[in-house]
Symmetry: C2
Subunit: 363 residues, 2 copies
């Protein structure tokens, strides 16, 4: 009956007198009915400004003298459903990706943007500074069209190119792979975790308390954002990459892999402690080996998962509340690095919803 209440509320707010008798199933309305959006739009947050010395001459517009340049902001597109829950969700993409990670899946199904809107969360999709629609970087960059997609096919654990993993939760049509590869966009400036976390902390200052979802490379600056902003009330990190922060003096030994060496980063205890104050859920998918293998793509995730476990233990030892779930351990198999857009993403959304409910984050 919940959707009925939403609809009547919407109608009443629109100044319509509405007397309605409704019989419906929550599931069908929530999964298939129209989205009822109270407000949507976009804005930027944070960033820096530089100005060239001199005086601007309107008759010499191509001379930078006296001209300004705004950059290094984050860009956000948001939607707020009618009767939204208390905390919005900010969704932060990973390496080489942008807001599309959370939009329509490569095979054309609804992504987490729309799934969580249906579950009555306000949703903010971001492009981090120096990526996609937040492309104005304060630092110069050269972008080369270097063929690299077989690397990503393997690194994102869809399979071992050109073979798909048995039972992988990824549609095998050619058009799905085409859409998947085209959902990448390059950095327009150097990757800088401080620039990124400053901007997303500024976004949280604008929108108030909320929940942060991060993917992969977004994990590292996500931890820093929670250190910089008390408005981050929880984090759900999908396969966070190599940038885990530990208290100074407690950084574990580096973990070598066939791809690279995963190293923890030291931060002062006064900063680290922020991560012990909020519930955190960390999820990893399938096809991560439990002992070293000589394929760099798979082995990199073995080392990352191992470091993530050490990080969970470090946060929890200091009073934190980190839950790490390696999905095969609970019988969920076939997930790639893109857990939230895989074929079973409704099941994953249910898992996340359950966590948010348990932590009273879905009021």
């Amino acid at each position: 009956m919940h959707q009925l209440i939403v609809r009547c509320s919407a109608a009443v707010k629109a100044g319509i007198l509405c007397f309605a008798l409704c019989v419906c199933s929550v599931a069908s309305a929530a999964d298939h009915g129209p989205l009822i959006i109270k407000d949507q739009g976009s804005f930027t947050a944070g960033g820096k400004v530089s100005t060239t010395q001199g005086t601007f001459d309107p008759r010499r517009p191509l001379d930078p003298a006296g001209q300004s340049y705004h950059g290094d902001h984050v860009y956000a597109f948001y939607q707020i459903p009618v009767d939204a829950r208390k905390y919005p969700i900010v969704m932060w993409h990973g390496a080489g990706q942008f807001s599309k990670s959370w939009e329509t899946t490569a095979d054309g199904r609804e992504g987490f943007q729309t799934l969580f809107l249906r579950r009555r969360f306000a949703v903010y999709l971001i492009d981090q500074p120096r990526r996609g629609d937040a492309g104005r970087s304060m630092v110069e960059a050269t972008i080369k069209p270097t063929p690299d997609e077989q690397l990503w096919f393997n690194q994102f654990r869809i399979g071992l190119w050109p073979r798909y993993f048995d039972g992988v939760q990824f549609d095998r049509s050619a058009e799905t792979l085409n859409q998947f590869f085209r959902s990448m966009t390059p950095n327009t400036g150097p990757f800088d975790m401080d620039v990124l976390s400053d901007a997303v902390a500024a976004l949280f200052a604008k929108i108030g308390p909320g929940i942060l979802f991060t993917h992969s490379q977004g994990g590292g600056p996500g931890w820093l954002t929670a250190i910089k902003s008390r408005n981050v009330k929880a984090i759900v990190a999908f396969e966070p990459g190599s940038s885990f922060v530990f208290p100074a003096g407690e950084v574990p030994a580096p973990i070598p892999s066939a791809f690279d060496t995963v190293q923890g980063t030291a931060v002062p205890m006064s900063q680290f402690i922020a991560l012990t104050k909020i519930p955190i859920l960390v999820l990893y998918g399938d096809n991560i080996p439990d002992h070293p293998v000589d394929f760099p793509a798979q082995d990199s995730w073995r080392a990352r998962l191992e470091m993530a476990r050490k990080w969970r233990d470090a946060v929890n030892k200091h009073g934190g509340d980190v839950t790490l779930v390696h999905l095969p351990d609970i019988g969920i198999r076939g997930n790639t690095h893109f857990i939230f857009s895989d074929l079973n993403n409704v099941q994953i959304a249910d898992l996340v919803s359950k966590f948010l409910a348990e932590k009273h984050l879905d009021q």
Copy 2:
């Protein structure tokens, strides 16, 4: 009463039995009620693929041998309202801009994306190839953070920096200017009208017949898209820039200005004729001088408006249906180069709606 029908249709489609008695004003529901979205999402269209010679070695993932690269596609985010009109609207940004042009205005009001959703059009916002979220370019580029915003303040006819034009339809708060400057994002590859129009023609092949809105630099590749795709059923061009196409042998003399020289481009009559088959509305705003001045920003628009009039006459001479409105001529004053996001953008939306109705494009 129209909004009532939309809402009941939504409820019925969601499997809800709904008996409702409604009293409402169309204006209040359309302008202020919730948005009722049947479907939303994103995809890419068109583009190219390159592959490096050789064989991919999964143990050497950073070697491009045998690896592929997808680029030069267009990216689109779409929303389809319940009970949508027949033709969707594709909205195409201008130079240095991206989808944000049509989203929330710099001062925080609803842009054309949401205004036309409220008017029951499906809306597709694009980032053109090599811009924003469609950043994977087939050609290398270097991006320099060159201060240039006073150029844009003048070029976009907000005023003569730092002075705003008297009566300009642009909010004067510092935060509005901050948001406005941050709504720019750089090219990630060279600007190439054929690459752009190929991709947007591929988008129209995917979505079927629709209406194309273009802004500024998007105008030129917009004409080419209509030449390449019969699915472009009408164009509304907001201040198209310098790239007007004429039949070979009918290109007018170049028009010099204090900024640059505006030149028409010749295309075969067999291509040009496509532009005579669809209704086209061209709008220009205020503060465009009617005789040469020595400020490059203002003078560039004098030359562009003059070329646009010659183009209108050329298309109409060959049986076309181009309406060019210089807004001050009909008493609408103060518009900048961003007519659709100016303070009077609801009035502009009304003007566009009236055109679409007159041409039977809003069925």
